[in-house]
Subunit: 677 residues, 2 copies
């Protein structure tokens, strides 16, 4: 028995006359937050006077200190407005405007100790963030163990909204097929968590600047309360602190359209500026790799007859890279450790001992002659103690051989990261707990000392730290192309029509697009294969932002279709500006991006399992300029299951006032290069 009485509570609640409340709005006045100390410290969010989040709790509790929960009231608040611009060293936008209103609320408790904390809100036109600031104070001495973060996001739309999500705290990290369900049917979910209300309002909840804290997942409670569910340490503690601390930003992106989410810069704006100084050594680029051959079984990571990472094979790839204009060659399976039981034990990898058939010096010299870099690889198999012990030596070896980019891997099951603690006891940690949040960042900071940029696979989710650490250049963190090699099921047609509105809101993804031969296990729909047309493979280069972009297929498959390959050769990876032109979550998307180093524009569009016609207003192009549009699009008979290779390449002269009509096949797409005349 519990339900009837709730009404009474609300009545009492409404009659509390001593409560204080504070409000703030975004610069355009559309987004509004209301903070109260009635009953509990709580907040409420409106968009154009429409309720988005109803009263949602704030606060946290500790293992052995007084909690920051009930009994706190608003003592004072401070408001300020800020409007500035900042530059990205690389990115989807060269310049980002940071225009926001800020309110910092001081909560206090009548007791004599552990009686103060702040919540800082920043409201932008594209969303808002808030974070806790807990100052050093009497009653909060010593080791502070957070046991519960009370933060809630209580959606006004949870009964009727549609949600896109992947489960949290399961066996995998983030590599799941996305679920599309009623909001009310979601599980414990990872962020970014995106939903669409019946009136078309789109909301995405995530976090920014996740440093020295546990990753936040969301657990659905009644009345649509998504409760912060921090991923614990192996000893059950959520977060370990000592002294004053500040939490990551809890973020809420709000937009009347799906594309509004994609065009948001909220996450980056809530991160701290670059702390690395000059980062000219961080170089966006395109690469190929000794990689896909292993996934489809032509090669092995381990030694033997089919070993992929041989000196001769790497040189062959470098020659190909040089011929077609790629910056680097990723080589996996080059070091000792791959031959045994590495997946579960993971203490076998030696990061400075190449296989005998991999002559790193000869390879580096060969690359240097061609202007092609070796891209390094560190698979830890989740044994982070083993990796940490060798980390400096490993980066030094690469630095000595001219390597400036390293892909890392942490492929253990979720919850199975292996570390040896201070007592010599083996501990198993989550990829998204505080321990690993710190471990990943330690890797980035260490790499920076050696002039190396990191592409993290099996990473902690992105929260915009590339702004602060520009050498954290890209990462995986969702189902990428590899799942089409052995995923059973492979990524469904809608997968890349969901990613831009979910995973990609957090930052770049090394998806490794560009598979031209889809028939490596047969071309029928039930095989492991990319469930796309060839045109859609090309579209991925513009749709999915990553400053490192792979051409993932084997060289021979590109040489068999140089006409289509030309687009991959042409498309840049660093942009002056980017804009989602149209799209709906899980259905389709059209992205336009302007090259940072030329006057060219590129557009990519892709669709889910449904064929679709898009009318492309070209008004994003530079005024009073005529362009040659080179269009790569699905042929009239293209269809992903039966006829994926039907591709039309055509040239058109266009102006910004024109409209282009493009038909996408089932799981098809298109890619366009606009060159000014």
């Amino acid at each position: 028995m519990f339900r009837v009485l709730i009404c009474w509570v609300m009545i009492v609640f409404a009659h509390n006359v001593n409560a204080a409340s504070v409000s703030a709005t975004s610069p355009n006045g559309k987004l509004k937050v209301l903070v109260t100390d009635e009953k509990h410290p709580s907040y409420r969010v409106f968009y154009q006077d429409r309720l988005v989040l109803d009263w949602s709790k704030l606060g946290m509790t500790f293992a052995s200190h007084h909690p920051l929960t009930d009994g706190f009231t608003i003592k004072s608040n401070t408001k300020r407005t800020s409007d500035s611009e900042w530059q990205q060293p690389w990115g989807e936008h060269q310049v980002i405007r940071d225009h926001h209103n800020q309110v910092t609320i001081d909560f206090q408790h009548p007791r004599q100790s552990a009686n103060r904390y702040q919540v800082e809100f920043k409201l932008f036109n594209d969303g808002m963030g808030f974070r806790y600031r807990v100052p050093a104070q009497t009653g909060l001495e010593g080791n502070i163990h957070i046991t519960n973060e009370l933060t809630e996001f209580r959606s006004a739309d949870f009964k009727t909204a549609t949600a896109w999500w992947i489960p949290a705290r399961g066996w995998n990290r983030y590599e799941y097929v996305y679920n599309t369900t009623s909001f009310k049917d979601i599980d414990r979910v990872h962020t970014p968590f995106t939903y669409r209300a019946t009136d078309g309002l789109h909301v995405s909840i995530h976090e920014a600047a996740l440093v020295d804290y546990a990753g936040m997942t969301l657990d659905l409670r009644r009345d649509g309360r998504l409760k912060a569910d921090l991923t614990p340490w192996s000893d059950g503690v959520l977060v370990k602190k000592n002294g004053a601390f500040t939490t990551p930003w809890r973020t809420i992106q709000v937009s009347p359209s799906a594309t509004g989410l994609v065009n948001s810069t909220l996450i980056l704006n809530l991160n701290e500026p670059n702390t690395l100084g000059n980062v000219d050594w961080v170089k966006p680029g395109k690469y190929i790799g000794i990689w896909w051959g292993m996934h489809i079984g032509e090669n092995t990571w381990g030694s033997g007859d089919k070993h992929g990472a041989t000196t001769s094979e790497v040189k062959r790839y470098m020659d190909f890279a040089h011929k077609y204009g790629f910056n680097g060659v990723l080589v996996e399976g080059w070091n000792h450790g791959w031959d045994g039981d590495w997946y579960f034990n993971g203490d076998v990898f030696n990061f400075t001992k190449p296989y005998d058939d991999f002559d790193i010096e000869a390879i580096s010299a060969h690359g240097a002659n061609l202007g092609v870099e070796l891209i390094g690889h560190h698979e830890t198999s989740g044994n982070v103690t083993n990796y940490r012990q060798q980390m400096d030596d490993a980066f030094a070896l690469y630095q000595d051989n001219g390597v400036t980019q390293v892909k890392t891997g942490y492929v253990a099951d979720a919850g199975q990261i292996k570390r040896i603690d201070e007592n010599g006891i083996v501990r198993h940690e989550w990829h998204d707990g505080q321990f690993m949040v710190n471990e990943y960042l330690h890797n980035i900071i260490t790499a920076a000392k050696y002039g190396i940029s990191i592409n993290t696979h099996e990473p902690i989710k992105d929260t915009g730290l590339r702004r602060t650490y520009p050498n954290w250049i890209t990462r995986e963190g969702a189902r990428g192309m590899e799942f089409n090699a052995w995923g059973s099921p492979p990524n469904p047609p809608e997968h890349t029509a969901i990613l831009p509105f979910t995973r990609l809101l957090s930052g770049p993804m090394d998806f490794t697009p560009g598979i031209f031969d889809m028939g490596f296990k047969g071309l029928d729909a039930n095989s492991d294969r990319p469930q796309t047309t060839l045109a859609k493979q090309l579209a991925l280069y513009t749709v999915i932002y990553s400053p490192l972009q792979m051409a993932a297929d084997l060289p021979r498959n590109y040489e068999a279709n140089l006409a289509a390959f030309q687009f991959i050769r042409d498309v840049p990876v660093d942009w002056e500006k980017s804009k989602a032109l149209s799209g709906e979550v899980g259905d389709y998307i059209v992205m336009a991006r302007k090259d940072k180093h030329s006057s060219q524009w590129f557009v990519g569009g892709l669709t889910d399992e449904n064929a679709r016609v898009v009318n492309l207003d070209l008004d994003f192009l530079t005024n009073n300029t005529r362009y040659k549009a080179t269009i790569y699009k699905d042929g009239n008979n293209a269809q992903w299951e039966t006829n994926p290779y039907d591709l039309i390449i055509e040239n058109k002269l266009v102006s910004p006032s024109d409209t282009l009509t493009v038909k996408m096949a089932e799981s098809g797409g298109f890619a366009i290069k606009f060159s000014p005349l």
Copy 2:
């Protein structure tokens, strides 16, 4: 990248030649367990040589001691067989046979400390259980904090089986509409967790004898591994121990039929015998209550014009109970605390201070004259510190007034049990964490000192402790009738066709059946109302086992239909034996039970939203006896939405060799009393 390499692991695994393994079977030889120390300590389960659970890990880890995980090998094992019978003081069976084979396996580690533990397996014909025994030893001194129990149940059928489940660690405790999904689509689930393989094998996973340990929920990992996911303390620790300890039994019921699960006595057989000595003071019985009036809004728990718990109203109920043969009258809302903001704060209840209009002495005296007991009520609203401080006084007051049964309530949201810790800090605990497991049992043991039996609402799930503490007489712990008053949605027609194969496998449930007036908010399908026919309401008394069984409706509604009410008056609550005759999970069930104190048999059957005809072989009746069968069944035009009250009552003379054919309407049922001639 992670998938391709798994094959290698399996090969290495198969080549380990030093491993030891131990097996054991059930007395009938059908159920078999195989335990190995290859790779990890693990076990495997077969039923008639069919794989049920594939290799599933064993072990646990601690916060500051060496883990009991990898590196342990089988040192020795001890087997024994046991066949005995024991008596229940009350129950669904008077006598229970305990026939099992046992094997205790000693695991050891080569290191010098924290190097020993045992796993004890008991195999019965209806299922198996196992538990860990961790002895006191060097290296396991001091406070032992369990941070992970590795136990897995790796189903061989997870890709294709159908599962029935409710989510764990959500806002509610156990009061959810059951989900019916593919096994592979389950969430983190509560136990009993029941699934059916495509070949009809039924499996239910649960635990027995949950004492001084955290409740176990199950989290689905890849390859169908259900991982034990213990509910944590508020500080994140899962279980706190000091010195040697033994875990609860992890149980696996296996049956080729759904009814086989219902007829299992595994859970009780794995509990310890009665420790309370003579329990003649524990009295099964039927009751009415001042209760439903509050749920449908005619009365209030709090004081005022509509206050339900007034002296005159209780006397009127007692008169009714006396007239129609009920043992007691439950009275909720009798004590101070209900008028304010009790649901969230919950420190307002005074368990010894009746409202002014509730004269407990006069009421007790009135009841004593009539042979009707007052049934007590303690709503804690989850503030267990407040309750504990008053507990002895509260029971003493009731004892002084002749009360021998008390219903308790812990209605806070899940995770929101409020306690004050040893430092005066407010802590919020889960209903199914170790703290509350101990708190509920403390309540039972305290009540026993005052000769009081407890009916726990918002309880910890049942794990068979009624055997050890027979005054823990029944409990709620699933969606009961109250949800039909305000559940929105109310319990769907299939609800009571799922409960017998899930929740009720764990023990009795105070469902509070018998609503005769379903039109209190209108009779259409979208109202809050019982979604059943009247005959199905009668069926619930035999289908759902509870030694305390309520006639939940208002007296006036029974007096308006005394013919149907006669069945509720006649049906007993204590049984010599019970047997599920037929049924399928979520579809229907037919239960037969023999009265413990007469030669009468009772049968109840009910169906989900589909009408259904059952042919009832009467061979369960006592041989060579003829019976008068009084049959309460759906009328020809009965249908739950449009015509729930169409009821036929008829008498037939029958013999054990007869077959009765009964038609159940959509969400209908039937109830039969068999009286020997």
